[in-house]
Symmetry: C2
């Protein structure tokens, strides 16, 4: 049985304001909740008796047993599953130094929560552990992003900061960005450290950040010069770029 | 001024049944409508006076001038733009031979309309002109897919057919598919013709189609063997595979 107030609280987590105020985020679904529970502190676990029975080892401050239709009322999904959970948002220490030693991503106002979630999942696949996000980038802990990450959120750290200041602080570190007049990525010298900057869905990388990028690259279309789609989706471009970086290292 | 009946008709095109019955689909937005109008016959064009004035050369059976708030009532988008259009669904002749001479994609029950749209856009970028879709794949002319293609729908042909029969008819043509136990794509011999099969979001490539795939490939994660996301989103995987095929040909 779940109270009306609890349902209201859970549903309020769709809004950043309430997530921030309470330092928590919402995750839904059997696999996602069970994956995240290994990494994040669970405040509230709402699930059917059957789910609780088969996932006894999950620790939560509060466990609420519900019928499926009760769960639907708390859920933000169109087709709710058997469980939802409220987790604590982790606090990371912001390190500006990571790009000196490893490959990192920087997102310059990526606005779509689904794109952000997909990018976090791509980062996880390609062993990128740190993503720097401009303050205009979507919130990594919004329900849509959390769902799209498919659990990758547990292994990738997101740092919201000023990208321009970040790059300015990195002396002699390669900073890559994709541009339509960049150099063919396939023939370019890539590195195993540095920063890959990806831009906004509509406007690409902002002017002030562009000026600080010292390695301008391009994903060539095929055949080159053919009339085609104007650009690739930002998550798709991120995937291709990361794949090409890691291919060189394998 | 737009009639209630016309609004009802336009909004009905969200459903496949009505698209099929009328042989038309809906597209919205300034750039998309103007791009598609070069390739598809426009039945109904609904736009503001200002948009019509700056896009005089677009030919349509019927042009309806509206105020922005009227357009909102016909629109399926959250934030409607200045124009929407009803286009005829093109009819292609189904050729089973294309994979013998060029690189083609086959989608085995890709269900999400957004993923399908993104895949069409990727195909366009990488010069893949034909996509074979199983009957369980999302409809390429659903509004969500059309919007996600960003105009690529004009240059890529989609053929709905039985993928198993298609592959069976292709003698000695390389048929690629991604599998978790496949061979590292980066070290594999790829070809400039053949079929790349991509599977369903949850279940991957179906068993009966898997059995016909003669080139099993894998997109390796990094570092290899690391704990990571279980899989990549199907559109993301399509992008990485297509990029790697085309890289070899540049």
């Amino acid at each position: 049985m779940i109270s009306k107030n609890k349902i209201k609280f859970i549903r309020s987590l769709e809004q950043k304001k309430f997530r921030k105020e309470n330092g928590v985020f919402l995750a839904e679904g059997n696999k996602l909740v069970s994956d995240l529970s290994n990494f994040f502190k669970c405040r509230i676990l709402v699930a059917t008796q059957q789910w609780m029975d088969t996932n006894k080892d999950i620790i939560a401050d509060e466990k609420i047993y519900v019928e499926k239709d009760e769960l639907s009322r708390a859920s933000l999904l169109k087709t709710p599953q058997d469980v939802l959970a409220v987790f604590e948002i982790p606090s990371y220490t912001l390190s500006m130094d990571c790009p000196k030693n490893e490959l990192c991503l920087a997102l310059d106002d990526v606005q779509d929560p689904g794109n952000l979630g997909t990018i976090i999942r791509i980062a996880d696949w390609f062993g990128i552990k740190n993503i720097y996000c401009s303050h205009g980038t979507a919130d990594a802990f919004s329900p849509k992003t959390v769902q799209a990450t498919m659990g990758a959120l547990a292994r990738v750290k997101l740092h919201y900061c000023n990208i321009k200041e970040l790059i300015s602080s990195l002396n002699d570190v390669p900073v890559f960005g994709t541009f339509l007049d960049g150099d063919n990525i396939y023939n370019n010298t890539l590195s195993s450290n540095g920063l890959i900057v990806m831009g906004n869905e509509g406007n690409g990388i902002s002017k002030e950040v562009s000026e600080l990028i010292n390695r301008r690259i391009l994903i060539p279309n095929y055949p080159q010069g053919n009339e085609t789609t104007d650009s690739l989706n930002v998550a798709v471009a991120t995937a291709i770029v990361c794949s090409e970086f890691r291919r060189r290292q394998l």
